[in-house]
Each structure stands twice: as C-alpha cells, then as structure tokens.
C-alpha cells in the first residue's frame, strides 16, 4: 500500500488522509460514496413518496444510520473469525426459522417475525447472508469446481432455510435466499453442462412446486402474465406503477408533483413501488441516474471481490455483490412490469427496516473481507 505519498498538494493530502482514515476503519471509500449517494437520493424521494412526511424521512434516515453502524461494526470483524463462526450462525438461523414457523408472531397474516421485546427480528432476512456464508464456508476447503457430492451438500444448505422461509409463507425472501446461495455455487465454478442440467431440473421443480404455492402467490404470477385481467385486484399494482413511470416521460413531472404517487393511485408508493415514484417525478433521467449509481456500487463490489485471495472471501463477497444487483433488478423489473410482483424492496431507497440492515451488514462483510486481505496473505 502506497497511499499517494508522491503528490504533496493539499487536496491530495486531504484525500490521502481520509483514505487512510477509511482504511483504518476497514472501509472502502468509493463503495461508501456510492452507497451514500443512493441513500441520499432515496431520502429525497422518500420525502415526496411518503406524502411530505418528515417523520418517514427521519425514520428512514435512522434506519440508514443503524445500517451504517452495523456495517461499520461488521467491517471490523476479522474474516477468519467470521469464517469460523459461520456454521454456528447458520445453524442458529435455521433453528430460529423453525421457531418462527412454529410459534412465530403473526404479522401481516404470515409468520415472519420473532418478537424479542424491543425489536422484531426476521430470521429469514438474516438467512439472506447466512446462507451464502455457509455455502462459501463449505466450499472453502473443497477443490473447485465442486464435485457432485459436495454440490448436493451445498444444495441442501440452501434448500433447508429456503423451504422454511417459503413455508412462512414468504416466497420473495425464499427466492432471494436461494439466489444468494446459488450464486456462490455458480461463482465456485460449476461446469456449464451441470448448470444447464440443474436449470432443467429447476424447471421441472418449478412446475411441481406450482401446486404447492399459496393461492395468492399463484395469483401474483398469473397476474404478471396478464395484469389487465384484474385491474382492480392483483393487477392494480402493476397497472398503476406503469402509468406512473410512463407518464413521467424523459424529465418527469417534478419533485412532489407526480399525481400517481401524490394522490395515492400508486399502492405501496414509499415501500416496494418507490421506483415508480422516481420514474414519475424525475423521469427517465432520474431512473437512469439511480441505475448508474447501483451499477457503480455493484461494479465496485465485484472489483473488491476479485481482489480477495481466499476462497471463502471470494465466493461470499462475489455473492453479496451480485445479490445486491439481483435485488435491484427484481424490484425495478417488477415495478416496470418485466417481472411478477414478488414484494422485494428497492435496496437503500424503499421504506422498511430489516432489509436495510441486512444489506448494510452484507457490505460490511464485503469491506471486511477486502480490507483484511493483507493479513491473510502474510
């Protein structure tokens, strides 16, 4: 590490000093800036999307603050410790999932929450990180690409928590857990033919699993295929969000002037469908800017992942980086009508608690894995 000791200009020195400060905090400057810009953008949109509710903005900012603190703390954890703790974390998470399924607190008609008195904890959210960690942990010491028995073990690692989550029922989170785990396997270097074969199996599994889906879940998928068929019911979300985005045009209707959002035609405007509010008020320009920021964060995260030398770190950070993009794509795809409505929030922008903390913890892990790499080498 030779942090710009060549140039002596004031600016350089200041930058160098902040970079050093960040490095000592085990943080990554560009990633932090990218995340901060998205969060700031999100807060500005939140004020409008919540109907000029300062309280919502403050709450959102508070959660963001909590997320940053979590990220900071997680970034300090040494990768070695993290790796050793992984099986414990995973098993604890699975046990909690079972507890939630059995005696879980009924929230929104589905059992997702565990009431710990002061805070309500969502184990499935926690598993979004624990599952790729466990996968990475398991594959860490095995030669890559993984052999078939190893692969089957990894699939079971993913399957158990994912199935428990879908049983809650929370299809969206269940799918995200699956994706996070599968991404680790893919990054581990699965052969193309195996990928194709598994894809075929997945298709059969999907056909089989269809009958096990709850009616509302089936409805969501069907409605995605033809939203107009039920304009006042399940299709209402998609229709209204497309109207919001489409009517925004290139430059948008202006901040706090989107009629779809402001007059509440757009459902869940400050949570899952906040992307449509941005599209309506800031137009294609606003959406493109947001997408650019997301791509920057994903790109930086991928870069950091490639810099790590350990298998566990590589697989985990690669999964975290791509999962982040998957979140973004699922949400934006859903809001713009490319994908079915599955209830995935827009990362760092949507109003909502646990997912924000999980995301920031993920980035904390990523930064930890990156910034501690020297120690591993030595």
């Amino acid at each position: 590490m030779t942090f710009g000791s060549i140039d002596s200009s004031y600016t350089r020195r200041t930058l160098t000093r902040s970079a050093r400060a960040l490095a000592s905090l085990k943080l990554d400057g560009p990633l932090l800036i990218g995340l901060a810009l998205i969060a700031l953008y999100g807060l500005i949109v939140m004020y409008s999307a919540s109907g000029q509710n300062v309280g919502a903005v403050i709450k959102s900012a508070t959660r963001l603050g909590i997320g940053i603190v979590v990220m900071l703390l997680v970034a300090q954890v040494k990768p070695g410790f993290l790796r050793r703790a992984t099986p414990i974390i995973y098993v604890a998470g699975v046990v909690l999932l079972i507890v939630v399924d059995v005696v879980g607190y009924v929230g929104k008609g589905a059992q997702r929450w565990l009431d710990l008195g002061l805070i309500r904890f969502q184990p499935s959210e926690f598993m979004k990180i624990a599952v790729p960690m466990m996968c990475a942990w398991y594959l860490h010491e095995r030669p890559l690409p993984p052999s078939t028995p190893h692969l089957l073990v990894t699939v079971m690692i993913i399957f158990v928590p994912a199935a428990l989550t879908i049983a809650q029922p929370d299809l969206g989170t269940g799918l995200l857990i699956t994706i996070a785990g599968v991404l680790v396997i893919l990054m581990a270097g699965l052969q193309l033919r195996v990928i194709l074969a598994l894809g075929g199996l997945a298709a059969i599994g999907a056909w089989f699993g269809w009958s096990f889906l709850h009616e509302y879940q089936q409805k969501r998928v069907l409605m995605f295929l033809d939203p107009q068929s039920d304009p006042l019911g399940a299709g209402y979300h998609i229709i209204q969000s497309q109207i919001a985005i489409g009517s925004g045009g290139i430059f948008g209707k202006g901040w706090m002037n989107g009629s779809q959002g402001q007059l509440e035609f757009l459902p869940e405007r400050s949570t899952d469908f906040i992307f449509a509010v941005i599209g309506e008020e800031f137009g294609l320009v606003g959406l493109a800017l947001l997408l650019f920021l997301y791509l920057f964060v994903v790109g930086r995260a991928m870069f950091l992942a490639m810099q790590t030398q350990e298998t566990f770190a590589r697989l985990l950070s690669g999964s975290i980086a791509i999962t982040f993009f998957v979140y973004v794509f699922i949400n934006t795809g859903m809001v713009s009508g490319l994908l079915p409505v599955v209830g995935v929030p827009l990362p760092l922008v949507s109003y909502g608690g646990t997912s924000m903390v999980t995301l920031m913890a993920g980035f904390g892990i990523l930064m930890s894995l990156y910034s501690h790499r020297k120690l591993i080498r030595s």
């Binding site: 985005i245 489409g246 045009g249 009629s259 035609f265 599209g279 997408l291 490639m306 030398q309 791509i322």
Partner: protein, 627 residues
C-alpha cells in the same frame, strides 16, 4: 493426503473466479440494458398513452346542484322556498361504532328508534368518507340537545344546507305538492345524468308537474381526487385545467292562487273533510284549491319518519288523498243548470211554461215513484224557479223528455267524464254515464240496458253520474262564461330568478258550448234566484249580498262508507250523511270568480257548503280580486 483426492489449486481457482465474475458482469450489463430498454418503452415510446391514463385517474366530475325555483302566489307571496336548514350529518369512517352511535342518537331523541335500520342502510350506501344527512331540519331544541351531547358523537356534526321549506305549512299542500327523496319510480321518468347531485324531487302538485322548470340545470365541477375518490386541494403542476360549469337556477313558478283566499277557504272548511276550488272564469286561473284535511309538506323534505308516514296512511280522514282532483261524488242538484240549458237548447222546455210539482214523478206507464228530495211539493214552477228552488220533479220530467243520449252529449263539453286538463297531475275523470258506457261497464246482459228510470235520476245528478270538485268548478266557470271554457291552471307565469324576467303562459281555450245569450240568461237567472227569496241558499250564502251571486246547491247521497269495519257506529252514522255541494259564480252580471265547494257528509248543500263558498267569494271580490 491421498493421491486420488483433488488438491486445491489456488491460482487456478482465482482465475476461475475471475472468469465467472466477468461473466456475471456481462450478464448484469445485459440485464441493465433490458431494464433500460423497458424504461425507454414506458417513458418515451408510450409516454402519451400513460399520460392520458394518469390524467383520467385524478380528475373527477362533481355535480353542482342548481337551486330549485321558488313558488309564488299571484301577489308574489312565497309559498315554497329554499332555506338554509340545520341537519345532522354523519361521516362513517370517523364514527368508531356506527350501531352504538345510532342507538345513542335515538336515545337522546334525535332519530326515531324505528328509523335506525333505515338510517344504517342509508349511511352504508354512501362512501365511507361522504357526509351523509341522517336527520334533516333540526329545530333549535334539537340543536341544543346535540350541542350538549356533542362530545359523545365523533364523526357526527350539524351542517347547514339548502332545504325546501313551505312557510305556510299545510296550507295549499294539495295544490303545491312537496319534494321528497328521489325514488325508484322517479328515476324512471328523469334523466339520471341531469339529476346527479340533486337529492330531492317534486312529488305531487305543482312541485311535480313543473319539476323540469323548477329543477333548473345542474352544473358540474372537475375536482382533483386521490385514489380513494376523495377531493384534494393542491396547488401547482398537479392541478390541470379544471373546468367548472355553473348551474342554471330553476325557474320560479307564479301561481294563480291567492294565498289569502286559499287561507279563508281552508279556515272555513276547518276540521271538516272536503274540497274548495275557485276559478277565474276569464282565463281558468285557479284562485284557490283546497282539499282537507291536509298534511305538512315540510315533513317530507325533512325526511319523514316511518311512524309519521304510517300515521298519515292510516288516518281515516285520508289526509294524503286529494279530494279536489281525485274525489268522485254524485253531483246532486248542482247539475240542474246544465240540464235546464240542455232543455232549452234542444227545445224541450219553454221557459215561461210552468209544471205542477206535487212532490212525486211517475214515468208514463210505470208505477215507480220518483219523490221530491227535500221540500215536499213546489206547486206550479217555471224553469227559473225550478233551478232556484231545486225542484226535482221538474227535472225528472225534463230529463226523461231529453233522454240519456242528449243529456250525456250535452254534458260532455263541460268536461264531465273526462279530465279538465288542469296543469297539475293526478285528477280523475269521474263518470259520465251513457248507453254505450253501460253496455261496456256491465257483464250481465240484463244490466247492460239503459233504463228510463236511470235517466230520471240522472236529471237530478244521482245515479251513476260522478264528478270531481275540480270538474264542478270548471263547469261553474263555463256557466259563468256563457260557454267559453279554459283549462284550469295553477301556474300562470315562469320567472327567471336571476334576471327577474317573467314569461306569461297563455290561457288555453277549450271547446265552447253554444247557446243563445237568452238561454244563458235564463239559467243564470235561475241560479241568482237560488240566492234570493225562496231560493235554496237564500238564507245561508245569500244573506246580505253586496254583489249578485248565481249559485246552486247540491246534495249527494252516500251509498256506502269506505273502510267500514274500522269505525264505530257513531262514525259510520256520520259518514253516511249526504255530501254537501255548492257551486256559484259572482258577480252574476260580470263573473270574476267561480267556486265549487264540497263538504263530505256535510248534509244539505245550503247549510254545509254554501256558507264556505260565500266567504271565499267575499275574500276575493271585496278586495277587488280579478277586477
């Protein structure tokens, strides 16, 4: 480590990971491009389409009801108006417990216990954020009651709205009608679109007949709404060009009625059941139109309770029944002037010739006796006298000489057996019997034949012949007018409430009856005679006349009592008494008013009905009405 176990090759694995990461990056790039393309499709290609949809989402059209026209009497006195009224309104979504709230409101007496179910239904039929009127027209005491208990009623409040008000209450209700909530039936006859925003519609009387004039044109206002349809006030770019169409106020009705004459007529009838109609013979203007008992039209605009309405329906005096237009009774002797005129026109009678009345009339070749109704025998009477003293025998004889065909044919142009065409609805045609009618009316061939004896009874207005009080008034005005006939009308002009411009409606002439002036004069003389000397009404309506009255009494026999079983003997006895009729016009030489009075079970025409007619004519003529 055993040799067959693959050894981790860190360098190779790093390269493998890098290749995978590159592939992932490429896939991410492709997906980002797909998403961007989707956004371009929505926001650039289909932008206009979605703009139209978003515009349609947020603009709603809200009706602006037009103020209903006033109803004025001929002197400009307001008979029906729109007054701000205090009403109790409820917003469902703000009420914690609707059932408990309604129960409590009924406990403190603001809504009737019987109306709770209906009120709940009414509230439920509106959107949850609509302010629903649950009690119209609160009086001061009720307002005070609510004010004391206000803290108990979240979501309930007193609001001020325009409501229909009839300052004279019961007075003239059967002429004015009333307004009430729009019913299913009403919806069939109106243009729903034109009535969106209107809550009350004219029922009966002038309110109903002139509904389209009174109603005006509702305006509309485009308002910005949110997804729940709730109106929102916002400034700036959200507010498109919202169009407002101002309502056009309904026309004011100017009635021919003189409310003072009407008041006198109703006061004179008092608690008795009956009807009074006064018409200006020169144009058919209805100066007074009374049917007693009446009811308070304000109750309907206020939202009449079930109990109140049932009480009106159950009342044995049938206050909702418009006797003036819909009550059909035998005419009694009031028809005699027309029979006399028929005799003259058809040459069946020589005015100067006398006929001896010994109190009994027999048809040639028949032993059946037709008796003088009242005063024994009149001795030798000529035509004028026969009218004045209402000699039945004279008219038995005249009728049998005329025959039923000529009598029916002559009476038809007076409006008997058909509608007079008055400008408010609901009148009955009565019954003008004829051979043809009898053939159709009866199924038994033996009953289908017209008997000569029936003609005899017809001559004194008994038998099948039925008239409404309105028809008799109309007939009287034709007598006064020497044959010229106008459709009776309540409304004479429409006034624009904004500009004040008045549009007079032309009187409508109908068929005339031709007779010579001398023949008219003889009949008039007979009717004048009734008010003088030995005339039937000389002692009652004819006393102390300051102008000449031409009148005729009548007594209609009652054959049965409707709804009998309910009443005790005394009531039945009272209700079996004859109906009392009186018709008159005055001044006889240049008539300015024609009156018909009916008093149900009022006994003789001279004592029951005649004094009322005199008071009505006094009220009109002595202050110069119609001059």
């Amino acid at each position: 480590m055993p040799a067959n176990v693959r050894i981790k090759d860190h360098w190779k694995e790093q390269r493998l990971f890098e290749r995978r990461a590159m592939a992932a990056g490429a896939i991410i790039g492709v997906l980002a491009l797909v998403l961007f393309a989707r956004l371009v499709t929505l926001q650039v290609v289909r932008h206009e389409y979605y703009t139209d949809l978003s515009q349609g989402n947020r603009v709603r059209i809200e009706p602006l009801p037009a103020p209903r026209g006033l109803i004025l009497d001929r002197n400009g006195t307001v008979l029906a108006e729109n007054r701000p009224a205090y009403q109790l309104e409820l917003v469902r979504e703000e009420v914690p417990d609707l059932d408990a709230t309604l129960r409590r409101l009924s406990e403190i007496g603001l809504i009737a216990a019987d109306d709770i179910d209906d009120t709940r239904k009414l509230v439920r039929s509106h959107r949850s954020f609509d302010s629903v009127p649950i009690r119209l027209r609160l009086d001061d005491e009720q307002i005070a009651t609510f004010a004391v208990h206000r803290f108990e009623f979240q979501g309930v409040d007193i609001r001020t709205r325009l409501a229909r008000s009839y300052p004279y209450g019961e007075l003239a209700v059967h002429a004015l009608g009333y307004v009430g909530a729009i019913s299913e039936q009403d919806l069939g006859r109106i243009d729903r679109a034109a009535y969106s925003g209107t809550t009350l519609i004219g029922k009966l009387g002038a309110e109903s007949a002139y509904e389209s004039e009174l109603h005006g044109q509702n305006g509309s206002r485009e308002i910005l709404v949110n997804a729940q349809g709730r109106s929102v006030q916002r400034q700036g770019a959200l507010v498109p060009n919202l169009i407002t169409v101002q309502p056009v106020a309904g026309k004011d009705l100017v009635l021919a009625m003189d409310i003072e004459v009407q008041r006198v007529a109703e006061a004179e009838l008092g608690a008795r059941r009956g009807a009074v109609i006064a018409i200006d013979p020169a144009n058919g203007d209805v100066i007074a139109l009374v049917s007693r008992p009446g009811y308070d039209p304000n109750a309907f605009g206020r939202g009449i309770s079930r109990v109140e309405y049932q009480a009106l329906l159950d009342d044995i005096d049938r206050p909702l029944f418009n006797r003036a237009l819909r009550g059909t009774y035998p005419s009694g002797s009031t028809i005699k002037p027309a029979i006399a005129l028929a005799g003259l026109v058809h040459g069946e009678v020589i005015p100067t010739e006398t006929r001896f009345c010994n109190g009994v009339f027999r048809l040639p070749g028949s032993s059946r006796m037709f008796r003088e109704g009242r005063s024994g025998r009149h001795g030798a009477v000529a035509l004028v006298d026969s009218i004045a003293r209402s000699c039945d025998v004279y008219f038995y004889d005249l009728a049998s000489r005329l025959g039923v065909d000529r009598i029916s044919g002559f009476l038809a142009p007076f409006g008997f057996g058909s509608l007079t065409g008055i400008d408010i609805g609901g009148e009955k045609p009565g019954l003008l019997p004829s051979r043809e009618w009898k053939r159709k009316a009866f199924s038994d061939p033996a009953d289908q034949v017209w008997f000569p004896g029936e003609t005899v009874n017809f001559g004194i207005g008994q038998g099948y012949f039925l008239v409404t009080p309105l028809q008799l008034a109309h007939y009287t005005s034709i007598l006064a007018n020497h044959g010229t006939s106008y459709k009776p009308r309540l409304v004479t002009a429409l006034r624009d409430p904004v500009s004040g411009a008045v549009r007079q409606l032309a009187p409508q002439k109908v068929a005339a009856i031709s007779a010579t002036p001398e023949q008219w004069d003889i009949v008039t003389q007979g009717m004048i005679g009734a008010m003088r000397g030995r005339g039937t009404a000389a002692a009652t309506a004819g006393r102390n006349m300051t102008y000449t009255i031409a009148g005729k009494t009548g007594t209609a026999q009652v054959f049965s009592v409707g709804q009998t079983e309910k009443y005790d003997e005394k009531t039945v006895a009272e209700r079996l008494r004859d109906h009392s009729w009186f018709i008159a016009f005055a001044p006889a030489e240049a008539p300015r008013i024609a009156v018909a009075v009916l008093v149900e079970n009022g006994g003789f025409g001279s004592t029951g009905a005649a004094p009322i007619a005199r008071k009505v004519m006094d009220a009109w003529l002595l202050k110069g009405g119609g001059a």
